[in-house]
Symmetry: C2
């Protein structure tokens, strides 16, 4: 099984994706047919330049005043607060085990929320002067709700993608963060068109065939609570206990934990390198359904990274059936020290490290069983 699975990781690169770390780069948007034939049908990512240069947002959103004035009459927006920027991620629990931590979500006027983001940026991230990392995001079609006052600044959908995929996006989400916010490895049940408006986003990408290299294990769910008074976070396990299957791999290692992490996750660190892609203003990343992705960001001069992503329905076709078959097979190797302890936990999970939006996927049923995706927003980008 070890050899078969490693051959799969290699073959998808040999045949389709390439053996390097770069993805295809198009200088202008593809036709719907090209996009469908060369990328969606093949489940293959690409970066597209000159894709959104006509959006008013590309110039007008560079000014905080434009944004705050446009949204001054809007209802509050959802801000995700964490102490270190890693919401929806694995963090150490006081007993030294890892848990899956959700952020504290607060509703604030946009002006205050934006202030939190830009002041974090201006503070020294290693000091204690700013203990709160704020990320404006809500994967619930928020661009059409909380941010509807900005809707004329961007396209409602990506025309060539809509024509190729045969329907309008299911959700359009706005993301405003700074360099301290990181989204950990996960995957989504959507075709994702990811457009950067200001700053840069840095993606690491791995195809769904690399499932076993992500070491998806069950972690106890926890949630941050932020106290305005003390300015401190507390992290509490959910009660009743809930387990979330999540990717164990953190691709960016600090010198002090590098050796330990690399020996825990050798399939990731010793296998093919992830594809890397930086998305700049005016560009769109096509991030295919079921691909594992990790996201960091660099801010613009104003200390913000702003992006919009379009989630289109994916096809649950033979590729998805093959993926589920792959998932159901255990990779057993002397190189995989984590498997013996945790394999049994994984056997019955029906979804794993998926984004959980506002119930988009609740109606999808594989083999008659509805995937258990209830339970609040989890992740994705």
């Amino acid at each position: 099984m070890k050899i078969a699975m490693e051959a799969l990781w290699e073959e998808v690169r040999e045949l389709s994706l390439g053996n390097g770390t770069e993805i295809d780069h198009l200088n202008s948007p593809p036709t719907p047919l090209q996009f469908l034939r060369d990328y969606v049908s093949q489940n293959k990512p690409c970066l597209i330049s000159s894709a959104t240069l006509h959006w008013p947002a590309l110039s007008s959103w560079s000014q905080d005043t434009y944004l705050t004035q446009s949204l001054s009459a809007s209802p509050n927006v959802s801000v995700h607060l964490t102490p270190h920027g890693n919401a929806d991620a694995l963090v150490p629990f006081p007993n030294n085990t890892l848990c899956f931590a959700s952020p504290h979500v607060q509703q604030l006027p946009f002006r205050e929320a934006l202030h939190l983001i830009t002041t974090t940026e201006n503070s020294d991230s290693n000091s204690n002067t700013q203990k709160t990392v704020a990320y404006l995001q809500q994967q619930n079609d928020c661009f059409h709700s909380e941010y509807s006052a900005l809707s004329s600044d961007c396209d409602d959908h990506i025309p060539w993608a809509t024509e190729a995929l045969g329907s309008l996006p299911e959700a359009v989400n706005l993301w405003i963060g700074n360099h301290r916010s990181v989204t950990s490895f996960h995957k989504d049940h959507y075709e994702n068109l990811y457009a950067v408006v200001s700053g840069e986003k840095h993606f690491l990408l791995l195809p769904p065939t690399d499932y076993h290299r992500m070491y998806i294990r069950n972690y106890p769910a926890a949630r941050y609570s932020y106290s305005q008074e003390s300015g401190e976070f507390t992290l509490e396990l959910e009660k009743p206990a809930r387990y979330v299957p999540w990717c164990s791999v953190n691709p960016y290692l600090s010198p002090e934990n590098m050796e330990a992490e690399m020996s825990k996750f050798p399939l990731y660190f010793n296998g093919p390198k992830p594809f890397q892609c930086t998305v700049k203003p005016g560009q769109i990343l096509y991030l295919p359904s079921m691909w594992f992705h990790h996201v960091r960001q660099s801010p613009d001069a104003g200390g913000r990274t702003i992006a919009i992503n379009y989630w289109y329905d994916m096809q649950f076709d033979i590729k998805y059936a093959y993926f589920n078959f792959l998932k159901s097979i255990q990779y057993r190797s002397i190189h995989d020290p984590t498997l013996p302890e945790t394999a049994s936990k994984d056997t019955d999970t029906e979804s794993d490290c998926d984004s959980i939006a506002y119930g988009f996927k609740d109606e999808f049923s594989a083999n008659g069983s509805v995937e258990n995706l209830a339970g609040g927003s989890t992740k994705e980008e």
Copy 2:
């Protein structure tokens, strides 16, 4: 592994193909985008009506005289001769084992070749009055070579498929046979558009996920030789010995061998039924790459079944990588009595029960190794 694989067979039907035996039926040709999105990308077959009603062939080819006059100045055509109609199929060798038998291929003037086909039809197939079954076919783009005099009677390519797939067909093949010719289960590395001009073709179809249900095993290659003098066939093993991986399952059982065959191939006979499709004049079957297919035919009033198929290059993408992964996994089950004896032989085969045309695929290399597809024409339809 047994459970995982059976879940795959079921899930691809639940999600994408449907649980019955029917495939999608379109009343008119799809747009290129629809075809690509709903069928090619999903590796899902469909039958398309009113697809070729504008072809002059649909009326003019009903007359033998039109065909013989049009081709009277053409070079000889290739006729495949067998005693029972099963060329490129498993047949019992005198020692009571099975071999993979290729037909006797003879070059004849078209008029004589057509006469062989129509007289077979008029004879009693159960008697010995006609021992030779003739099938006009050659999977080498023969419509553009041997039959080029007929080229203005049909389209050179299928416009909506060409636009969807992004290139012209690699080969266009003509098939003229009668009810005695049967093509055994196999698969092709091509997207196949199959158009019937006269008579009917009856397909059984199984998705590539059902690989293990076909019991692909290695059989010694043999070839028929036909003696004009004696009117008899001899079947001889190739020397040096060559083994051909081929599907073991014959889906149409005679009463006397039904029980034995069903117990030898339970995964096929006890699993999901194959999809069934009859293609009539004016219709096109989209037969996706890598699907297993078995073909029978019913003749028109003149005793002939005439069809043209268009082979388009397939994409060797993530689906193909998944398929090879599936292939590399052994299905071990108490229900599979054939595996223990033959599994070792299968392990190293690089291609199996594929059509072998005139070197179309020789340049394709997976993991750096060129597939061994030399060795003469084998099958397909």
